[in-house]
């Protein structure tokens, strides 16, 4: 398992496709807490469940001032088809070119398989990582750790 960035580290910036014709910069997201959910691949059964769960828990993240992003090495078109098929209401980022560059920066790349780890990061408004967790690749890490981490942060606006 890779060694992922831990709480206290600065969240590496990124510039990734969020749709085939739209690019998102980490620095563009102002005043929000961010949850980055790295996962190995669109369409694999466990990831499907994990993203379906986050989709369902979305109001809980948003009520805590956080936006969630899924991120894998799949391309933007693949993400688009996956998001449409699963009715996902949050963005999926394509760490596609150069492949896995952002995952590597977060220590969440599995070079042996060429995919992202199943790793979660909670990032505060100042771009500091406040919590991170790397799950065994076959285990859906759920949402409880993310919600506990968001609840442990100062209330938004303080």
């Amino acid at each position: 398992m890779s060694t992922i960035l831990r709480a206290g580290a600065r969240a590496p910036g990124f510039k990734l496709h969020v749709t085939p014709d739209q690019v998102l910069l980490l620095d563009e997201i102002q005043g929000k807490r961010i949850v980055l959910a790295f996962y190995p691949a669109d369409w694999s059964p466990v990831c499907g469940d994990q993203m379906a769960l986050y989709n369902q828990v979305l109001p809980e993240f948003r009520s805590r001032g956080a936006e969630i992003f899924g991120i894998s090495v799949d391309g933007a078109w693949c993400h688009q088809a996956f998001a449409q098929a699963r009715h996902l209401h949050f963005p999926l980022l394509a760490d596609f070119e150069p492949k896995g560059e952002v995952a590597r920066a977060y220590g969440a790349y599995r070079a042996s398989e060429g995919v992202c780890e199943r790793a979660l990061f909670v990032i505060d408004e100042k771009r500091a990582i406040t919590w991170s967790y790397c799950s065994p690749i076959a285990v859906n890490p759920g949402a409880d750790g993310i919600l506990d981490a968001l609840d442990a942060m100062p209330k938004t606006g303080e």
Partner: protein, 178 residues
């Protein structure tokens, strides 16, 4: 190790004696094929351990992928208000492939419950709130898909076949004995 964060309470639907040594809490979704498939092994486990085990069912509908799951859960809650939770629970799973609003109303009538009361209670939102509370409690406890089982408060991370569930129940029994 994920643990159940919401203790079993009077608002829960319980099958079996409260004096049972082992409590099996299932988080399930009425439109999930795996939950339907888990019905038989769960019943086998209840039979095998007799009065030593009780089952609690809580709702975990993934409505974005299972659009009928929320209404089905509310229907079971409605039936629960009239002492028919488990009848409705079994009826919904038995009819899972043709789950629809019409089917749920038919099941309400088949259990001799009032369709009018059903519509009124659904409109009040009371059952939707209970279902959502179950869901959130599940999320906080580390439920990451369905079915997810907790055996005496500890998440069972294996499969839901009778041998796999049985092994976890046996372990829980041993823990009590020591």
């Amino acid at each position: 190790m994920a643990r159940l964060k919401v203790p079993v309470a009077t608002s829960d639907h319980v099958l079996g004696a409260n004096s049972a040594a082992v409590t099996l809490v299932e988080y399930g979704d009425y439109q999930c094929p795996h939950c339907a498939a888990a019905q038989l092994p769960v019943k086998q486990i209840l039979l095998r351990y007799g009065g030593r085990i009780r089952l609690v069912f809580r709702h975990f509908p993934l409505t974005e992928v299972h659009p009928m799951a929320g209404l089905a859960a509310e229907t079971a809650e409605f039936a629960g208000g009239y002492g028919r939770f488990w009848n409705m629970h079994d009826a919904i799973f038995a009819n899972q492939p043709r789950l629809s609003t019409h089917l749920l109303v038919t099941l309400v009538s088949a259990l001799e419950l009032s369709p009018r009361a059903f519509h009124e209670e659904l409109a009040s939102g009371i059952h939707a709130r209970k279902v959502h509370a179950d869901f959130l409690g599940g999320v906080r406890s580390g439920v990451n898909g369905t079915p997810t089982f907790f055996i005496n408060g500890v998440r069972h991370d294996g499969g839901y076949s009778a041998p796999e569930l049985g092994a976890s129940v046996d372990n829980a029994m041993l823990t009590i004995a020591t």
